[in-house]
C-alpha cells in the first residue's frame, strides 16, 4: 500500500504530519514523533511580537530602580551581550534537523515586514526544509478595510518568498469575506501551500475571579467541517498544496480531508490528548480502511470527494445552510 504524498515539493512517507504545537519544543519529543510515524513536523511558532516584548521587558527590568539610590545604582549584572533574537529558535531548528530524518518545517509569526523577512532568511539558513507563515492576526480596527487586510497577507507572502528559496506555506484563518478569492490571490502570489485553518485562542469568562481568560481548547472532530469544506472547494482550483488542520482525531477524519483534497493532515489536539503514539494508530487505521475498501494509494483517493469530483458539488456550498435548517423544521 502506498501512503506517500507530496507536500511543499517534498515526498512524505504518509499524509500524517505533526502540526505546530508545544510538542515540538523538545527535540526528544520530535524524535518520538518521527518514531511514531509522523512524516514531517512543523515546529512551534516563533513569535516576533513575543521577542519584541521580551526585549522591552528585559530593558525595563534592567533599568528599573537604577541610578536612584547611591548604594544600589544597578540591581543586575549586565552581560556584554544578550541572546534576545531568534537564536534559541534557530538552534532548535538545527538540533531538530540533526535529530530526525523527516522534514522539519519552521513556523513564523511576524509583526513587522523586516521581522518576517529577516527571521525567514535565518530559518532557512538554520536548515528548515520549509516555512509555515503563521499569520495570527485578529483585526479589530474598525477603520481597516478588508482590502487592506488582504493586501497585508499578500505583502507578507511576497516579501518572504523574495528572500528564501525553500517552499513557503501559509497558515490562514477562515475569516475572510471570500475565502476562495483570498486563496486564489495567495496562490497567484506564489504560496506553495495553504494550511487550513488556524485556530485562535478564544476568550472565556472565569466566574470566580470575574476575569477574562483567553485560552485554547483542544479541537474536536466537529472542528473538521470548516477545513473540509474549503479544501474540497479549492481542490483543483489552485496550484498550492493544501494541508488540513484542526479536528483530525480519528482515522475517518484523516480520510475525509484527504478525499476532500488535502495533501497532508496535520495533527495536534489528538496527540496532546492521546500521546504521540496516536500517529501510529492512525496510520494503521488508514491502512486497514484502505485495504478493506481496496484503495492502492493515497494518491488515488486524494480529492476524490472534492467539489470538482464529487457527486453533488453544490453540497459544499452555502445553499446547504438552508437545507440544514429545513431539515430541522421537518
Amino acid at each position: 500500500m502506498d501512503l506517500k504524498t507530496k507536500y511543499l515539493g517534498m515526498e512524505l512517507r504518509t499524509p500524517l504530519m505533526a502540526s505546530a504545537s508545544p510538542l515540538s519544543e523538545d527535540v526528544a519529543t520530535i524524535k518520538k514523533l518521527e518514531e511514531s510515524g509522523a512524516s514531517a513536523v512543523v515546529l512551534y511558532s516563533l513569535f516576533e511580537e513575543q521577542l519584541t516584548k521580551e526585549r522591552v521587558e528585559l530593558h525595563h527590568h534592567l533599568t528599573q530602580g537604577t541610578d536612584s539610590f547611591a548604594e544600589a545604582l544597578t540591581y543586575f549584572p549586565e552581560p556584554s551581550e544578550f541572546k534576545l533574537g531568534p537564536e534559541e529558535y534557530l538552534n532548535h531548528i538545527r538540533k531538530a534537523k540533526e535529530a530526525v530524518k523527516i522534514p522539519v518545517i519552521a513556523s513564523l509569526n511576524g509583526t513587522s515586514t523586516g521581522g518576517w523577512t529577516d527571521y525567514a532568511k535565518k530559518m532557512q539558513q538554520a536548515g528548515a526544509d520549509a516555512l509555515e507563515l503563521n499569520i495570527y492576526y485578529i483585526p479589530t480596527d474598525m477603520n481597516l478595510s478588508s482590502e487592506q487586510i488582504e493586501k497585508t497577507y499578500i505583502d507578507i507572502l511576497t516579501s518572504v518568498k523574495s528572500v528564501v528559496s525553500i517552499p513557503v506555506a501559509l497558515k490562514l484563518s477562515p475569516f475572510f469575506s471570500n475565502m476562495a478569492s483570498m486563496a486564489k490571490k495567495l496562490d497567484d502570489a506564489g504560496a506553495d501551500a495553504l494550511v487550513l485553518f488556524n485556530r485562535f485562542y478564544q476568550p472565556d469568562i472565569d466566574l470566580d475571579s470575574l476575569e477574562v481568560r483567553p485560552h485554547l481548547l483542544l479541537s474536536t472532530t466537529a472542528s473538521l467541517r470548516l477545513p473540509l469544506r474549503w479544501i474540497a472547494l479549492l481542490y483543483g482550483r489552485i496550484k498550492a498544496d493544501m494541508a488540513a488542520t484542526g479536528g483530525i482525531h480519528e482515522v475517518e477524519d484523516a480520510l475525509k480531508v484527504l478525499m476532500a483534497g488535502a495533501s497532508v493532515t496535520m495533527l495536534c489536539s489528538t496527540l496532546l490528548r492521546h500521546g504521540v503514539n496516536r500517529i501510529r494508530i492512525l496510520e494503521q487505521g488508514i491502512r486497514a480502511w484502505m485495504e478493506e475498501h481496496e484503495y492502492e494509494s493515497i494518491q488515488q483517493l486524494r480529492g476524490s470527494i472534492s467539489q470538482k469530483n464529487c457527486v453533488a458539488p453544490t453540497a459544499f456550498e452555502r445553499a446547504q445552510y438552508m437545507k440544514t435548517l429545513q431539515s430541522y423544521k421537518a
Binding site: L51, T52, E54, R55, V56, E57, L58, H59, H60, H61, L62, T63, Q64, G65, T66, D67, S68, F69, A70, E71, A72, L73, T74, Y75, F76, P77, E78, P79, S80, E81, F82, K83, L84, G85, E87, E88, L210, E211
Partner: protein
C-alpha cells in the same frame, strides 16, 4: 603611543587594572566599593583573562573578614590576590592585614575610603577607615583623581611585588570612586611592561606547597617575638624608594609622573597645605589661582602615607615655608591631633634635626579636619585656610566647611570665592531616579569625553530615599584637565527634569546670571510661565536667564519609552547648551544610542532614536516677561505644625540645606526623636488609591499590605461624623462585633507613593464594572490633595480603637491596630515594610528593635525624617542599629539588659513591699502578661506602684522607680535582611538562637543583598541571576529555618503574606508569644528581583504555589502536648516552578544570557522543589517518638 581616552569612574578604572593583575579575587559588597567586585565578577563570568591569559577566580565571601581570610590563604598558597572594600568592611579585615603584613606578603587591597559608623552610619567618603589600619603594616597609597586611581592601582602592584610590603591603595569614596571622568586607561602592554615576572616567581616560590613544605604562622614566646617583629624593618625602610622607583618607571612608560610627596605651588611659597585624597585636587586648582594672583602658596599632595618617608617629605617643602597646615579627612576624638598632622609634626622635628630638606627655619604648624562623610572641600575653604595661615596666631585643630558654634573649631571662609575658569562649561541637572536623568548625563559625558578634545567630569548626588528619589547631576566640560572635586555652584546650564522640584528645592540657586534654564513641564509654551512659582519667576528675571521648556513625557510616551525621559532631555541639552555643534551632537547621541542599546534589541534603539528625532520640534524657548506675577509659593519642607526640632533641623536637611546646620543644632550622641516622617509630606504619587465603600467587603487586606502604612482603617462612634469634611467616606461595618459603629478606610494621600499594591490585592469587584475594585487608583489632582489632606487630618482625630477589644485571629480587626512604622522611604511596593509594620502594630508599644544594617536600617533610620513612631500615649518602638554583622548579638544584649532590669526591679519590689503593699507586689510579680488586656492591667499596676514610690524617699524606692517600667513585658525584635541573617551575621544569629533567650528574629528575606544593589547571598535561590552570580547561582538556597529547627527549642515560622496573609499574622503572634528564641523568615519581594512592584504579592503567591517557598510553623510548645512541632501551612507544589520563575527577571534574564545554563538550572531547581517538599512532608508527618528506655548496663 598616542593617548587613548575613556570616560569611566574610579571603581571601574581600579577594577580594570587590579583584575588584570590578579589570579584570585575575594569579594564582599560594601558601599562605595561594591562596583569593583561587581566588575571583577562580571568579567570573570565572561571569561575575560588577566594579562597572563588566564581568567581570575572570583569568590564572594560571607563577610569582609571572610574575604580577607580568603585573600590571606590565596597569598600563602602563592597566587596574586586582591580584594576591594570600605569602611566597616576594612575594619573587619584588620586582623588578617596584620598577618599578611607580618608575613611580608605582596598584595594590594583597593579601598574606596568611607566614614566609619560612630554616632551614625554614613556611606560617604573620608579617611576614617584607612586611618584605622595605620598599625597593620600595610603601605598606604592614596590617589586623588580617577586618573590617579588607575595609575596607582598599577604602581601599588609594582611596589608590593618588589618590596614585599602589602599595599592598601585608597581613594575617596563617592567623590572619586563614583566620579565619571575622562582618563587614559592602561593597556595590557603597559601592565606587562611594568610588572616583573621574576618578582611574581619569587612570590610563588614562597607559597605553601607540600612539595617544599615549610611552616608559617608559629606562636612565639617572650624570648623572640620582639626580635622577630623587628626583622621586617629593612623592608619598610626600602619601601619608599621602591615605590618611587615604580612611579619613575611608570612615568617612563606613560608620561605621567608622580612623587611620594608631590609639591605644587610657587617655588617661594610661605604657606603650604599638606593633604591627601580628592581634596588635593580642589587645593591644586586653588593654588594655581592664588599663585597667579601673586600669593606665595603651595600644597603637598601626600601619595605614600605609610611607610612615611620623612626625608622625602622634608625635601618636598620649599625653603621659604613659614606656615604649614596639615589637613586630615578623619577624626580621632581625644588624640593630640589627627594622624597626618601628628606624622608631619614628628617628621618636621626629626627632619630638621637630621638636616633634611631645604627649610631655613622651623615653620609654624597647624592641623585641621575637613570633608568628613563627603562634606564638600571647595577652593573657598582652601582659601579660608590659607587666609587663616596668614594670621599671627592661626587656629590649630581647626575644622573647615562647617560651623562649629560649640567648641569654636571652625574657620570662617567666603563661600562665594570661586576659581573655576570661564573656559569650563558647568551644568546641573535635577531629575528623579526613575526618569533616567543620571544615565543620560553619564552618556553625555561619554559623548563629550570620547568625541571631542574636551575633558569631562560627572558627579552625581543621590537621595537616601528609595522611593521618589531625587538625583542631582554635576557635569563639567573644558579644554583643560579638571581638578574641581566639588559640587557645582556656578552653572551655565540648569536642567530641571521634574517641574515639581521647583516648589521644593531652590533649583536656580546655583545658576549663573545669563545662564540657560531648561524645564520639563506638562504645560505648553504659552502656559508654562504662569505655572512657575513666583520665586522661580523672580530668579529667571533677575538673573536674565534663557528659559526653555519641553513636555518630555509626551515625547517619551509617544516613542514608547514611558516615563524615561533621559534621551529627550539629553537631546534638549545638546540642542541649546552649545557645548557641541548641534548636528554633531545629535549624530553623536544617535551613535551612542546604537552602541548602548544595540545589545538590548532593535526596538529599544528605535524608540530612543525616535525620541531624539521628535524632541526638537517640542522644545520651545519661552519669552520671559518683565515681571513675576505668579501666586504659586514654595512648599515648606516639613509641616508648619511640626515641632521646632523637626522644622529647624530635620526640615533644613529635607530642603537640601543641611550643610548650613551648626554643630550646636545636632544631638551629641546620635539620638533623634521618633515619628518624624509624618511631618515631611512628599506628595510622590501621580495616582492614589480611592476607596469605594459600596464595593468594599472590609477584609482589611489593602491596609495589611500597604508598604508605607498610608492605607488606614478605623471604626468609631457615628457621632464623630458630625464634624467630618464633606468628602470624608464611611459606611456601616460588616463585622457583627462592631454593630452600631462606622467604618472608614482612609488614605494618607500626601504620604502615598502610588505603588498600587493595595489595589492589586483587593479581592472585591464592582458588580457592574469588573475592572473596578473596592479601592482604585485615580489621578492625584490638586483638588484631591486638599480634600484628602482634610480627610486625613480628620481621620487622625478619630480615637484609635481599644486594642483590648480586638480579636487578633483575623486581619479585619487586627488592622485596626495603629501602625507604629509609617511613611518610610522604602521603594514603592516594598515587600519588606508590610512585615515590619505588622510587627509594629502588634507589639510596637512595648518593642525594642535591633536593626541590622541594610535596606531596613536605611528606610528605617536615614535622616532627615524617620518612620518608627509612637501611639497617642507616647509609646512606640525604641530602635537602634549597631552594625551589619552583629545584629543578633546586639539584640540579645538588649534582651539581657531588659531581663536584668526586670530581675533587679523584682528584687527591689520585694524589698519595698512594706511601702507599697504586699498585694500590689504579688500582683505585679505574678501577673499574666500574655495578651493586650494583661499588658494593660500590668501597666495600670506599675503606674500605681510608681505613684506609691514617688514619695517613698528610700534609695531602693528611687532605684525601683527608674526600673519599674521593666516590669511590663517587653518584646525584643531583631530585624535584618538575608545578607545579615544567612551570611555576615549568621554566626551571631546561630549563637543567639542557641542561647534560649526570648528574642524575636525577623528575617526580611529578599534573597539578595538589596541595599547594596542585588548581590548574591546564601539565600539566593538556584538559577537566580544576581551580582556575583552573573551566570545564575549554581547552588541551592540555604535552609535557615531548618538549621534553626535543629535546636529544638526555637520557634521557626516561614511566611509569605502574598500567599497567606492570616498565616503571617498567626505566625507573628505565636512567635512573639513563644517564651524563647523565635525566628520568622519572611518572603520579601524586592525591586532587585526584576518584577512589577505593584503585583509583588502575586510573585509571593506563585512562589508558594510552586513549592519554591514552603510555609510552615515549627512550635516547640507543641511537643508538650505530644504533637509534631512542625506544621506545614502550604500545600504540595501545584504549579510548575517555571511558571513562577518566569515571572521574575532575576530568573528570566538567564534565559536571555545563558539559555543552556538557564535550562539546566531550572531543571535542578524544580528537582530541589520536589526534594524539599518530600523532606518537609516527612518531617511534618513523623510523630513524637515513644520514649525509649536507656539500654541497661550488663555486667561484662
Amino acid at each position: 603611543m598616542s593617548p587613548q581616552f575613556k570616560t569611566i569612574d574610579a571603581n571601574e578604572a581600579v577594577a580594570s587594572v587590579s583584575y588584570r593583575l590578579s589570579e584570585v579575587i575575594a569579594i564582599y559588597p560594601i558601599t562605595p566599593s561594591s562596583p569593583m567586585g561587581e566588575w571583577a565578577d562580571a568579567w570573570a563570568s565572561e571569561n575575560k583573562p588577566n594579562i597572563w591569559g588566564t581568567v581570575p577566580l572570583v569568590a564572594e565571601m560571607q563577610s569582609e573578614g571572610g574575604a580577607a581570610g580568603a585573600v590571606h590563604g590565596a597569598l600563602q598558597a602563592g597566587v596574586l590576590s586582591t580584594t576591594y572594600t570600605a569602611s566597616q568592611g576594612l575594619l573587619l579585615m584588620i586582623p588578617n592585614m596584620y598577618k599578611i603584613a607580618g608575613e611580608l606578603t605582596p598584595t594590594v587591597f583597593h579601598v574606596a575610603a568611607r566614614s566609619l559608623a560612630a554616632q551614625a552610619l554614613s556611606i560617604f567618603g573620608d579617611h576614617s577607615d584607612v586611618m584605622a589600619t595605620r598599625g597593620t603594616g600595610f603601605a598606604l597609597l592614596c590617589s586623588a583623581s580617577v586618573q590617579e586611581t588607575t595609575d596607582f592601582a598599577l604602581i601599588s602592584q609594582m611596589a608590593t611585588l618588589k618590596s614585599r610590603i602589602p599595599f592598601l591603595h585608597f581613594f575617596d569614596g563617592f567623590r572619586t570612586s563614583h566620579e565619571v571622568a575622562k582618563m587614559q586607561p592602561l593597556s595590557d602592554a603597559d601592565l606587562r611592561a611594568l610588572i616583573d615576572d621574576a618578582l611574581i616567581q619569587q612570590h610563588r616560590d614562597r607559597g605553601l606547597t607540600p612539595d617544599k613544605p615549610v611552616l608559617r604562622g608559629t606562636a612565639q614566646n617572650p624570648d623572640v617575638y620582639f626580635q622577630a617583629r623587628e626583622t621586617v624593618n629593612k623592608f619598610y625602610d626600602a619601601c619608599p624608594d621602591i615605590t618611587q622607583q615604580a612611579m619613575d618607571a611608570f612615568a617612563k612608560q606613560t608620561g605621567r609622573a608622580y612623587k611620594l610627596f608631590d609639591y605644587h605651588g610657587s617655588a617661594d611659597a610661605e604657606r603650604v597645605i599638606v593633604l591627601m585624597g580628592s581634596g588635593a585636587e580642589a587645593a591644586h586648582e586653588t593654588v594655581d589661582y592664588l599663585v597667579e594672583k601673586g600669593e606665595k602658596v603651595g600644597i603637598v599632595k601626600v601619595r605614600l602615607y605609610r611607610p612615611f618617608d620623612i626625608k622625602r617629605f622634608m625635601e618636598s617643602l620649599p625653603a621659604t615655608v613659614k606656615t604649614l597646615a596639615i589637613l586630615d579627612r578623619t577624626k580621632e576624638p581625644g588624640a593630640g591631633g589627627e594622624p597626618l598632622y601628628l606624622d608631619c609634626v614628628s617628621a618636621l622635628r626629626e627632619g630638621r634635626e637630621k638636616g633634611w630638606g631645604k627649610l631655613k627655619t622651623d615653620p609654624r604648624l597647624i592641623g585641621g579636619r575637613y570633608g568628613l562623610s563627603s562634606k564638600e572641600v571647595t577652593p573657598a575653604m582652601i582659601k579660608g585656610i590659607f587666609d587663616e595661615m596668614k594670621k599671627d596666631a592661626p587656629k590649630n585643630h581647626f575644622t573647615i566647611g562647617i560651623t562649629d558654634d560649640v567648641t569654636q573649631t571652625s574657620l570662617p571662609y567666603d563661600p562665594s570665592f570661586s576659581v573655576e575658569p570661564d573656559s569650563m562649561f558647568r551644568a546641573l541637572f535635577y531629575g528623579l531616579g526613575s526618569d533616567g536623568t543620571v544615565g543620560a548625563n553619564k552618556n553625555s559625558i561619554k559623548i563629550i569625553g570620547e568625541n571631542t578634545d574636551n575633558f569631562a567630569q560627572g558627579y552625581f548626588v543621590y537621595d537616601s530615599k528609595k522611593a521618589g528619589a531625587i538625583t542631582i547631576s554635576h557635569l563639567r566640560f573644558g579644554p583643560k584637565p579638571i581638578h574641581s572635586t566639588y559640587l557645582i555652584t556656578n552653572a551655565h546650564f540648569v536642567g530641571c527634569h521634574q517641574a515639581m522640584f521647583l516648589r521644593r528645592y531652590d533649583v536656580l540657586r546655583y545658576i549663573m546670571p545669563g545662564g540657560t534654564f531648561l524645564l520639563n513641564s506638562l504645560f505648553g509654551p504659552e502656559e508654562v510661565w504662569s505655572h512657575l512659582p513666583r520665586f522661580v519667576q523672580e530668579q529667571i528675571i533677575k538673573k536674565k536667564l534663557k528659559f526653555y521648556s519641553i513636555d518630555a513625557y509626551k515625547v517619551a510616551q509617544e516613542a514608547g519609552m514611558g516615563r524615561r525621559i533621559n534621551t529627550v532631555m539629553q537631546t534638549c541639552f545638546f540642542a541649546i547648551s552649545g557645548v557641541l555643534p548641534k548636528n554633531d551632537a545629535i549624530e553623536a547621541i544617535k551613535e551612542s544610542i546604537r552602541k548602548t542599546y544595540g545589545k538590548k534589541g532593535e526596538e529599544i534603539v528605535k524608540m530612543n532614536l525616535q525620541a531624539v528625532d521628535t524632541t526638537l520640534a517640542q522644545l520651545h524657548e519661552i519669552k520671559v516677561p518683565a515681571k513675576a506675577e505668579s501666586t504659586i509659593d514654595m512648599l515648606p519642607p516639613v509641616s508648619e505644625e511640626a515641632p521646632a526640632f523637626v522644622k529647624e533641623v530635620l526640615g533644613k536637611m529635607a530642603e537640601g540645606q543641611g550643610d548650613d546646620l551648626k554643630v550646636s543644632q545636632l544631638p551629641v550622641d546620635g539620638t533623634y526623636p521618633t515619628g518624624t516622617t509624618k511631618w515631611e509630606k512628599r506628595n510622590l504619587a501621580l495616582e492614589i488609591p480611592v476607596w469605594d465603600p459600596a464595593v468594599c467587603i472590609q477584609c482589611g487586606k489593602c491596609s495589611f499590605v500597604c508598604p508605607h502604612a498610608v492605607v488606614r482603617i478605623k471604626m468609631y462612634d457615628p457621632k464623630l461624623l458630625a464634624s467630618a469634611p464633606a468628602t470624608f467616606k464611611s459606611r456601616d461595618p460588616m463585622d457583627r462585633d462592631m454593630k452600631g459603629m462606622k467604618y472608614t478606610i482612609q488614605i494618607s494621600a500626601e504620604d502615598c507613593t502610588g505603588c498600587g499594591v493595595c489595589v492589586d490585592v483587593c479581592p472585591a469587584k464592582n458588580k457592574s464594572e469588573t475592572r473596578l475594585k473596592a479601592i482604585n487608583m485615580q489621578p492625584f489632582t490638586p483638588t484631591m490633595r486638599q480634600e484628602e489632606r482634610d480627610n486625613w487630618n480628620f481621620f487622625l482625630k478619630i480615637p484609635d480603637f481599644d486594642r483590648k477589644q480586638l480579636k487578633l485571629t483575623g486581619i479585619r480587626q487586627q488592622q485596626l491596630q495603629v501602625p507604629l512604622f509609617e511613611f518610610s522611604s522604602a521603594c514603592g511596593g516594598c515587600g519588606e515594610t508590610p512585615y515590619i509594620k505588622l510587627m509594629s502594630q502588634l507589639f510596637g508599644d512595648r518593642a525594642v528593635v535591633a536593626n541590622a544594617t541594610g535596606c531596613s536600617s536605611i528606610y528605617g533610620g536615614n535622616l532627615p525624617t524617620t518612620p518608627w513612631t509612637q501611639n497617642t500615649e507616647g509609646r512606640g518602638p525604641a530602635w537602634s542599629n549597631s552594625l551589619f554583622e552583629d545584629n543578633a548579638e546586639f539584640g540579645l544584649g538588649m534582651r539581657l539588659a531588659i531581663n536584668k532590669q526586670k530581675e533587679f526591679a523584682s528584687e527591689l519590689l520585694k524589698k519595698v513591699s512594706g511601702t507599697v503593699g504586699d498585694t500590689l507586689v504579688q500582683e505585679i510579680l505574678n501577673a499574666r502578661q500574655k495578651d493586650e488586656s494583661d499588658i494593660f492591667e500590668q501597666r495600670k499596676r506599675v503606674a500605681a506602684l510608681k505613684e506609691k514610690l514617688k514619695n517613698a524617699g528610700t534609695a531602693d524606692a528611687k532605684r525601683l522607680l527608674s526600673l519599674s517600667d521593666m516590669l511590663v513585658k517587653k518584646s525584643v525584635w531583631i530585624l535584618g535582611g538575608d545578607g545579615w541573617a544567612y551570611d555576615i551575621g549568621f554566626g551571631g544569629l546561630d549563637h543567639v538562637l542557641a542561647s534560649g533567650f526570648d528574642v524575636n528574629v525577623l528575617v526580611l528575606d529578599t534573597e539578595v543583598y538589596s541595599n547594596t544593589g542585588g548581590q548574591m547571598s546564601k539565600s539566593t535561590p538556584r538559577g537566580a541571576v544576581a551580582k556575583f552570580a552573573a551566570g545564575g547561582k549554581p547552588a541551592r538556597k540555604k535552609d535557615l529555618g531548618l538549621i534553626a529547627m535543629s535546636y529544638g527549642n526555637v520557634y521557626v515560622g516561614r511566611v509569605a503574606m502574598g500567599a497567606k496573609d492570616e498565616h503571617t499574622l498567626k505566625t507573628f503572634i505565636e512567635a512573639e508569644a513563644y517564651e524563647g528564641p523565635s525566628i520568622i523568615i519572611a518572603y520579601s519581594h524586592c525591586i532587585a528581583h526584576g518584577i512589577n512592584m505593584t503585583t509583588g504579592l502575586k510573585d509571593q503567591k506563585a512562589a508558594v504555589e510552586s513549592g519554591q517557598w514552603i510555609l510552615y510553623r515549627y512550635n516547640p510548645d507543641r511537643l508538650k502536648t505530644g504533637e509534631n512541632p512542625l506544621q506545614l501551612d502550604s500545600a504540595a507544589p501545584k504549579i510548575p516552578l517555571e511558571q513562577y520563575l518566569m515571572m521574575e527577571n532575576r530568573f528570566k534574564m538567564l534565559t536571555k544570557s545563558k539559555p543552556e545554563d538557564a535550562k539546566r538550572l531550572q531543571k535542578e531547581a524544580q528537582q530541589d522543589v520536589y526534594e524539599r517538599w518530600a523532606f518537609y512532608e516527612h518531617l511534618a508527618a513523623t510523630t513524637k517518638p515513644a520514649e525509649t528506655k536507656a539500654p541497661e548496663t550488663k555486667p561484662a
